[in-house]
Amino acid sequence: MEGEIRLEELTKRFDDVVAVDSIDLDMPPGEFFTMLGPSGCGKTTTLRMIAGFEQPTSGKILLDGTDVARVPPHKRSVNTVFQNYALFPHLDVAANVAFGLKYHRVTKEERRRKVRGILHLVQLDGFEERKPAQLSGGQQQRVALARALVLTPRVLLLDEPLGALDARLRKDLQLELKAIQKDIGITFVFVTHDQEEALTMSDRMAVMNHGHVEQAGSPREVYEEPRTSFVAGFLGVSNLLDAEAAPDSGACSLKIGERTFRAEQGATQTRGAAKAMIRPERIELEPHDAPGDNRLPGLVERAVFLGGSHEVHLRILGGELLRATVANNGRPPGVELREGQAVTLYLPASALRVLEPSQDEPDSAAAAAERPERTAPSM
Amino acid sequence: MGSRWTWRFLALPGVAWLGVFFLVAFYAVLCVAFGNQDTLSQPVPFWNPLDWNVGYVLDVLSNFRHGGQFLTVSIRTLEFVAIAMALSLAIGYPVAYFAARHSGRWKGLVLVLLIVPFWINYLMRMLAWINLLSANGWGTRILHDLGIEQLFIWTGLLSTRGGWLDGQPSAVIIAFVYGYVPFLILPLFAALDRIDQRHIEAARDLGASPFSAFLRVTLPLSVPGILAGCVLVALPMFGDYYTPDLVSASTKTTLIGNQIDQFTRQGSEKVTGAVLTMLLALVLLLLMFYYLRTTRRAAQEAGA
């Protein structure tokens, strides 16, 4: 099957700034692949190099085995959906969509048929004569999509295409895009800074930071088995704690503050300074002074009602702030979620993860204590 | 995208044109100024800088040093330009200020009315004045009836009744103002328009009176615009020869532009004309580069 992209030691330097630092990535054919990261991490630059708008400083871009790094963009069978759509204002929708067909040997009749077909696929039947200025944001995005897809590229690149749309429209279009991709079967390479979007839509994803790939894998892997504290923090609330690690018969023994915990996940062979991570939904709350391993006392500082669950802010040990998610029907007996309530936090060894340090130390729980509340990472 | 040479290739004809018809033309001025003249008083340019003859340049410079006609004319030009500039500012600033800040819903119309004179042939505008100020012109009659003519005679700005167009420095200066004020108003307008209203509101909020707010906020912020406008107007004014010719035609108002015109186009001694042109250009070069630098920076700051 076609449409596989492999990046080998791809580097891009602008004067003395290294935007993309020798990355290796594998984008299997026919999959929805996402590059996720904060702004400035190099994801857009990488996408532009795949498209051909930037020339790599060094490295290879292999499209189905052929290195296309030096091939000009108009000769690559790769098409892009731009962030601002870039619909030609002086042409109507049909002319926009048919623009690239001029370079594919098709008859006028075939061209009309293809345009109609693709407009049907993106649910814009009848829009042929409209001008881009007369379309809404969502409609423009679909025309941009149609314009690229009608050329049946091997790979479709999407540069934060949903960024300019409001929240509800975004959600709808996310599902539509995913459905289209599954339907057509072309490889989609999607760039975004929104982790929820990435988790929702991708078959595989790569988390990038400061020009390199922190981790690549399926959404589940990246979320539940983050390799670095950056990845852990970027994809959700991560509850990081500083710890002293030592391998301990297959698992890891973490000394956090005065207590020792057992962690079975992550880089269990680490020795020395490390970070411990647990997802909020895996923290279990028990009544004050409950016995057992991997437990520590804490104080409920706040309990935020989120509808289906509570987000509980807990202060522990040396003043760090942890966040736990407690589903409303999973309320532990004997534990009241009100301010000032003393509880015990149970961090199961199977959920406690040891992380390698990453280039950019993001918020540990201590730092989170200083900061005002946020639920998702911002841009 | 596309090799760098594709785009350079596109620029080539324009660059070549400017190179030949602009840069070489200037070089020709230098070569004539540092050249010689033949027995028919025609210039003989010396193309090789190593051959340059400083004779004529030194002649002109010594004329300056010894208070000769060039010095007199240059000083007169400076005076005229300075006075005209001051008057233009006095008239132009309030108009620009009004147009930028107080014209409200008339802004578009006012702007059009300010732009129109900009595009009317300069000579036609002068012609209009000549019509009005000629012996029986409406302007002459009105000025006489309103007593303004008398005022001008008293203050020595006019030497004979109705003789507006007979070699009067005041007429030249006023013509300058009339001719160049539109060129000053537009950059002033742009600068004043760009000032954020909120700065002024903040000053008022802190207790400043309207006049004080103007003096301490608006005026300082508009200074770059004032300078840019003045430079933009000064450059052509320094070289203007046709305005004195049209409105005065007398040696009493000969300006440096007239001198250059006499020596070059009217043919008496092109070498000297070239020398004067070169000197004028050198003096104005500083102004030219200053203007280019400041307008580009202002455009960048405004987010062009």
Partner: protein
């Protein structure tokens, strides 16, 4: 009169000043235009309405050979000027905007210099150029045309570049992405989007050419290379008939009509603010 004491505005005095200025600025020209329609030979005494100075049998713009010649020559020069300045200017603007590597800044500065060079300096320089460097071309119509192109070129470049900057690179990239080679990117996408600026540039070049005086005069050879501006200059202090007013009015109308057209076109396809900036020639 509460708004007179209103702390937020003192526009009345300024409004009056502005009004007076506008009148002072335009009325003299309006009067000159008025006298173009004077029935008699006077340019200062109104003798009734007539179009004799435009279309009359003798001494009118359309029948006097001198006047007609000047008008014709003016228009010929204007057309040649636009015909050369616009293609050169558009190409130069594109090349400069996309210039990569050293030299771009210098060329940009050189391109901007004619905009700030005093006319007499340009006139003398070009005169010497055509006397001593290109004596085979010499003075006359070709020289006048070349001289005019040399300074209008920069205006075209500035106008086109302004529009290029606001268009940005996205459309070209999109075109390339869809398979268009660089030539098609230019022809199918960039040039159509540049059209309003090109038209505005052409209009400005046309108007500047018609109104030009110094360079045109310096490079003229004989009576056959007289333009309307030169005629105005030569005759103004004499005892001309209102035919002079008439020919000036004709030139004025042509200029204003061209510019109004360009402004309208620009507004239709680009923003009004951009159009205003072009009209005010904000370099």
């Amino acid at each position: 009169m509460s708004w007179l004491r209103n702390p937020w505005g003192k526009p009345r005095v300024l409004a009056v000043v502005t009004g007076l200025y506008i009148l002072w600025s335009i009325v003299p020209v309006a009067i000159a235009v008025l006298f173009a329609f004077n029935n008699g030979r006077s340019r200062t005494t109104w003798q009734g309405f007539s179009v004799r100075w435009f279309t009359g049998a003798t001494g009118s713009v359309f029948h006097d050979p001198e006047l007609q010649g000047a008008l014709k020559h003016t228009l010929i020069l204007a057309v040649i000027c636009v015909g050369l300045a616009v293609p050169l200017g558009v190409a130069l603007a594109l090349g400069l905007q996309r210039w990569r590597g050293p030299g771009g800044g210098t060329i940009n500065t050189v391109m901007l210099l004619p905009l700030v060079t005093p006319e007499i300096v340009m006139g003398v320089a070009l005169l010497l150029l055509f006397l001593r460097v290109f004596p085979n071309i010499g003075l006359g119509t070709p020289a006048q045309a070349i001289g005019q192109v040399t300074f209008t070129l920069s205006y075209v470049v500035v106008i086109v570049r302004g529009r290029l900057t606001s268009i940005g690179r996205e459309y070209e990239e999109a075109a390339a992405d869809l398979g268009a080679p660089p030539r098609d990117q230019l022809l199918r996408v960039v040039l159509p989007l540049l059209a309003p600026a090109i038209i505005a540039g052409a209009a400005v070049a046309f108007a500047l050419s018609i109104d030009d005086f110094v360079v045109t005069q310096y490079l003229s050879s004989d009576a056959s290379t007289t333009t309307v501006s030169m005629l105005l200059y030569a005759s103004a202090r004499g005892a001309p008939t209102p035919a002079l007013n008439a020919i000036a009015t004709v030139a004025l109308l042509i200029t204003l009509a061209t510019l109004a057209l360009a402004f309208v076109v620009y507004r239709r396809f680009a923003s009004g603010k951009e159009a205003a900036q072009v009209a005010a020639l904000e370099v």
